[in-house]
Symmetry: C2
Subunit: 349 residues, 2 copies
DNA sequence: ATGAAAGCGCTAACAA
DNA sequence: TTGTTAGCGCTTTCAT
């Protein structure tokens, strides 16, 4: 049980004071190059680790803002898991000397950039961390400004190639699509009629990549299978298209690649007689889907681990605060789970 | 931003000292009933929470022993995930002022009780926490002795009805079986031949309950379906039985309910020509299974979240140390995930 | 550029 | 039974 190396040890061994060691460890200037080198060398040599417990005790409170779309309206199904994960992550931290502030935008992701702008102006030097989502060029720019100002930024849900990010949690659209096609399977794809893909808007690259993989993987199982794409964000129009398709002819199966699309497709299928309902593979898991799992309308859904995304983002940001090593960006790929009626209860909280 | 309530505040408001407040909070005797009540009332009134950061800083080191079967030999497939989770949980804690000791038994669960006995004798007052597994009456008795001695015990993997347990993480055998039958599905069950269940030993209640649910759920989908049970722990014998069955006749599908059984069944199926391989649904996910996922021999496997079990156990035990409220036992039901070739990479670390 | 010193909120040893 | 006090290892402020 080797005694732990403290900042005091390093100070005495290098013939300096704890204050100087502290400055060196955190890269604060006002230390001569000679001393800096000496201290750094000793810290490495003795394998010094900061004691996070002690470190936290005296530190002044940090401020972290979480800026995400509100889980309401059509965004509800998508964001409720993420918010839940954020709350849970904060709870897990216990007393962390971090003041969290929650900001919700009303109209989804599109409003994020203007919210970032407002945040940038109002929060002067009082912001230390930011957790948000980045899906457009404007948001990218604002996030870069925050980073330049010294704010640590964690991104959830989508990747964005930004220099200096503290961490990002994302999902592989390709893997999601591959899982969906695989679940539908050779059996369903052998049936007559097109495969329907209730997708998100094409202007988002994640949805484009999803569709691409669906096309590729479907072709591998059933060449020449027609794929009919519907915009899941345009519920009214999509509903009509799909409804008439199902009433007239049929389709061999449906893949819904977005949370809201999964929801309304379930509702639509419910209006049809049982024998007219094709197999549906959905996306995300939330309480509203349970009845459709139970009735067999939704055969399976792909869980993007949004809850874990939220938890992880909080955790990683926290770690970055209590770790003086200015480590590079941490990228996390969210786990993709297959959820059916039989195990959906494990994915609801 | 309300200022946090400290032990000092409580002391001054009740006209006593921090030491007394501390004694009251931790239930140490040597405090008059009058004072105890007064302090407790004030703590409640002001919604006082212990500051875990500060609490940890000064506290003397705690000792926790983790006693589990070694992930070697036939136990390898089962316990590697659990051990990995334990290590990860310890890492997540960072500097927690807890000294962990890892003890591995060589011959699986059966050796746990004698290991507990040895541990009980050697570790005098120096043990504060224990994480282990309990699958027989002897272990139960030893665990009860530990608890009476004041050791906090966390159980992983199986439930055991013991008074005073700090926490337990377990898995629902019934849900596992239901998921397996559901995955095999009406389609496979409609094929001719019996359903083969490569199960664990019948003397374990978890395996008995597994088989029961398989029988019930199978009957619901395909009445009169014959179910052939093989002991997955007797690899040699089981291999012969299954091999001759598959070579002569056929079976409609195989469910393997234990990690080791899944492993050797995969190996067996590999020796057969492709058209003779029935659909296999397995249990647990570990690196050795990946080639069988890829080749299509293992259609799906049910992940018991062993990694998360280990993490959770460490976490919950830790929380119980930094929480003075002597809360009751925390029971966690491990999440059951469905894993296929398409998402197995997310379940390997 | 550097160091001394005062705590953070709590626990534990000691004193009364 | 109760109170006093000395830290835990670090961060921060202030003085040099």
């Amino acid at each position: 049980m080797a005694k732990r190396v403290t900042i005091k040890d390093i100070a005495s061994r290098t013939g300096t004071s704890v204050a100087t060691v502290h400055r060196v460890l955190y890269g604060v200037d006002g230390v001569s190059e000679v001393l800096r080198e000496k201290v750094l060398a000793e810290a490495r040599r003795s394998n010094y680790r900061i004691d996070p417990t002690a470190s936290l005790l005296r530190r002044k409170e940090l401020h972290v803002t979480i800026l995400l779309p509100d889980a309401a309206g059509p965004e509800k199904y998508y964001y409720q898991g993420l918010w839940k994960g954020i709350r849970q992550g904060v709870r897990n931290l216990g007393n962390s000397r971090i003041q969290f502030r929650y900001v919700k935008t009303d109209r989804g992701v599109s409003e994020i950039s203007s919210a970032l702008e407002r945040l940038y102006d109002e929060a002067d030097e009082n912001l230390d961390g930011l957790i948000t989502i980045c899906d457009d060029q404007d948001s990218r720019l604002w996030i870069q400004r925050f980073i330049r100002r010294g704010v640590r930024v964690a991104l959830v849900d989508r990747s964005a190639d930004i220099e200096g990010l503290t961490c990002s949690v994302e999902t592989s659209s390709e893997d999601m699509a591959a899982i969906a096609v695989d679940l539908l399977g050779r059996y369903s794809l052998a049936k007559p009629g097109p495969l329907v893909l209730v997708n998100g808007p094409q202007k988002r690259s994640s949805y484009r990549r999803y569709a691409e993989t669906v096309r590729k993987d479907t072709a591998a199982l059933s060449p020449d299978k027609e794929i009919l794409e519907i915009d899941g964000y345009q519920e009214e129009e999509g509903w009509k298209t799909l409804d008439s398709l199902l009433k007239n002819g049929a389709c061999c199966g449906i893949i819904a690649s977005c949370a809201r699309g999964t929801m309304w497709t379930c509702r639509l299928l419910e209006t049809l007689p049982k024998e007219k309902r094709p197999t549906l593979i959905g996306t995300d898991v939330y309480p509203e889907l349970v009845p459709y799992f139970d009735s067999g309308i939704l055969k399976a859904s792909i869980y993007q681990s949004h809850l874990e995304h939220g938890e992880k983002a909080i955790r990683l940001l926290y770690d970055s605060f209590s770790d003086y090593k200015s480590d590079s960006e941490v990228k996390i790929l969210g786990r993709l789970s297959i959820v059916t009626a039989k195990n959906c209860k494990y994915f609801l909280d």
